[in-house]
């Protein structure tokens, strides 16, 4: 049983509606809080009407890209226009560092995800749903499979089939086209786009791909009505609530449902109880480890895509990870770079080679063998990765590393001047082991550093 704190922090309970500490795993428990009522309502309506409602709500993707969910559904051709099956794939390959909300949906309100899938299936007239659950999630898989089996036994699925497809450990499979490749039984390497999945997705057929939280929000959108939903949060672009993932050096970490538009400061200090033991906030891993880090002067930024975007940040998958002053930011950048080096699928050269180069550079700074020129070289390498690969994994390594070098330049220079890490062994991340170093096929050769 998950010990994670999961609750509605403020605003209306939508994704977590009805959840008050006891998981709504059984069909009866979910029905008691109005479960499957929206499915019944949706099925009585024309599919196009349902899509229109989601468009009007301006619900946007909760997986990281923030693409309008309704519009994405509208790209799927109707069955009369195409002689192929239409598929839905739900992205439950939750692997972005700092993200732990989709698993709580699968554990706490699995039937709401099933209901969302069935509403989406009605809307785009699909008969087949695949839910791609990350391979490491065992209890989550069992909870979700239990809900699907119960719904099937009760006749709720009708003529729709939902199959849970389990991954096998690969961050890249959270990228939508890599997910499709993996679902097709291949190595999870992203595809070139176009064609986009709406036209040629899994098995070269039209495919709608949505994150778990996006799909789970659909019943809530219909329950409150699209017009009302569009007023919640920070309209017009960041409507509704979302599940924020608060972690790191904070007193009360957890998954908190709250409206878009609350400030980062409010989430960390009022909801999360602030930085414990008198420590000071130094940086925030904002949106996930794939994005630029936030500095303390931007804590009053509202958590909506527009406000964050104006300052060069991303809302990502709702991650807010607090980093206090005991952490060496070079070690942070190194560990982030190691992650992406480990997870790079190897298809595009800038990412495959660039992530390894970033690891070497960050390690050289940390160990005191780098020079000022290496800081410029780091930014140059980042520049040569961003926007130059098939998917955004390379960008996801480059953006946080570049932001660390740019925003914490003094700390990087202190490493150069000090001939190594000024924190010594006192940084929280000192000596943190990275999985990439336990594989014999991916050693980072120090002498290879230019």
């Amino acid at each position: 049983m998950s010990e994670t704190v999961v609750r509605v922090a403020e605003g209306p309970a939508l994704v977590l509606a009805g959840y008050e500490g006891e998981p709504l795993r059984s069909l009866d428990a979910y029905r008691e809080v109005g479960g499957y009522a929206q499915l019944e309502k949706a099925r009585a309506e024309d599919p196009q009407t349902v899509i229109q409602q989601v468009i009007e709500s301006n619900l946007r993707g909760r997986g990281g890209a923030f693409f309008p969910t309704g519009r994405k559904a509208s790209f799927i051709p109707t069955p009369d226009k195409i002689a192929k099956p239409i598929y839905i794939t739900v992205n439950a390959d939750e692997s972005e560092p700092g993200t732990f909300k989709d698993r709580e949906i699968m554990l706490k309100v699995p039937h709401r995800l099933v209901e969302g899938c069935l509403i989406a299936a009605h809307a785009i007239q699909s008969k087949q749903v695949y839910i791609y659950v990350r391979g490491e999630y065992l209890e989550e898989y069992e909870s979700l499979q239990g809900a699907i089996d119960e719904a099937r036994a009760a006749g709720i699925l009708a003529d729709v089939e939902i199959v849970v497809h389990r991954g096998a450990g690969a961050y890249i499979c959270g990228e939508e086209t890599a997910l499709l490749e993996s679902l097709e039984g291949k190595r999870g390497q992203p595809r070139s786009k176009p064609p986009f999945p709406a036209i040629s997705g899994v098995y070269a057929s039209p495919t709608l791909i949505n994150n778990v939280e996006s799909i789970t929000t659909i019943p809530a959108v219909l329950a409150v009505g699209p017009e009302e939903y569009a007023k919640i949060g920070a309209p017009p672009d960041s409507t509704g609530t979302r599940l924020f993932c608060l972690s790191g050096n904070v007193a009360r970490p957890g998954v908190y449902e709250a409206p878009h538009g609350i400030t980062v400061r409010h989430l960390i200090y009022d909801i999360g109880g602030g930085v414990p033991d008198g420590h000071e906030l130094k940086a925030v891993m904002m949106g996930g480890s794939s994005f630029p880090v936030m500095t303390p002067d931007d804590l009053d930024t509202p958590l909506d895509a527009d406000s964050l975007g104006k300052k060069g940040y991303f809302i990502g998958s709702g991650v807010v990870t607090v980093i206090d002053e005991r952490t060496c930011i070079v070690q942070f950048a190194l560990r982030v770079a190691q992650f992406y080096m480990h997870e790079s699928c190897g298809k595009c050269t800038p990412c495959r080679v660039g992530t390894r180069w970033l690891v070497q550079l960050m390690r050289a700074v940390e160990e005191g063998t780098a020079t000022e020129r290496d800081l410029e070289l780091t930014l140059d390498v980042c520049d040569r990765i961003i926007g130059k690969c098939l998917c955004v994994l390379g960008d996801s390594a480059a953006m946080p590393v570049a932001s660390c070098v740019t925003k914490f330049r003094d700390e990087f220079r202190a490493h150069l001047a000090h001939g190594g890490c000024p924190f010594g062994e006192d940084s929280q991340l000192a000596g943190l082991f990275a999985p990439v170093d336990q594989h014999s096929h991916t050693p980072v050769a120090q002498e290879a550093l230019v």
Binding site: S95, D102, Y137, G167, A170, S247, P435
Partner: protein
């Protein structure tokens, strides 16, 4: 116990005919049955799916959870990504190293336990996350390590 081949044929029914989608679940099943994906295990999967062993090996080698070398009867996987690292995952990993006498990526001499460091397991608010035989343990501290290791042999 039904045969692996029969079970793989059941898995194939979840996907459209003529597709290779059953490869991942079939490899998982074979690994659960044999402990790791030996050459023989991969050949068995390939035979059941009417694919080449080379194809199945190429897929298996892409994914972290597939073991292409023998592993221990138990696996201990410690998250050492940033969120766990901020709350001392390193000390937890070192405690396991000390308790088991092996480094990350290694297996104890008696073939019982494999220790691995892994990337973010998605339990970031209750660090450190340790997957013990694939079941998540949350808020693990170095003090918890001896009892976790002792609990393995039960």
């Amino acid at each position: 116990m039904s045969s692996l081949v029969d079970e793989i044929h059941e898995l194939q029914k979840l996907y459209p005919e003529g597709t290779r989608s059953a490869v991942l679940p079939a490899l998982r099943l074979a690994q659960e049955r044999h402990g790791w994906l030996s050459r023989e295990a991969i050949e068995e999967v390939a035979g059941a799916l009417e694919l080449t062993p080379a194809y199945c090996y190429s897929v298996a080698s892409f994914y972290d959870m597939f073991h292409l070398e023998p592993v221990g009867r138990h696996t201990i996987e410690v998250c050492t990504n940033v969120c766990c690292g901020l709350v001392n995952a390193q000390a937890v990993l070192e405690a396991f190293e000390g308790e088991l006498g092996i480094r990350p990526g290694e297996t104890t001499d008696d073939g019982e336990v494999t220790l691995r460091a892994v990337e973010c397991l998605g339990g970031c608010s209750t660090p450190t996350i340790v997957a013990v035989d694939h079941v998540y343990r949350q808020s693990v501290t170095p003090e918890d390590v001896p009892s976790i290791v002792a609990g393995l042999s039960e």
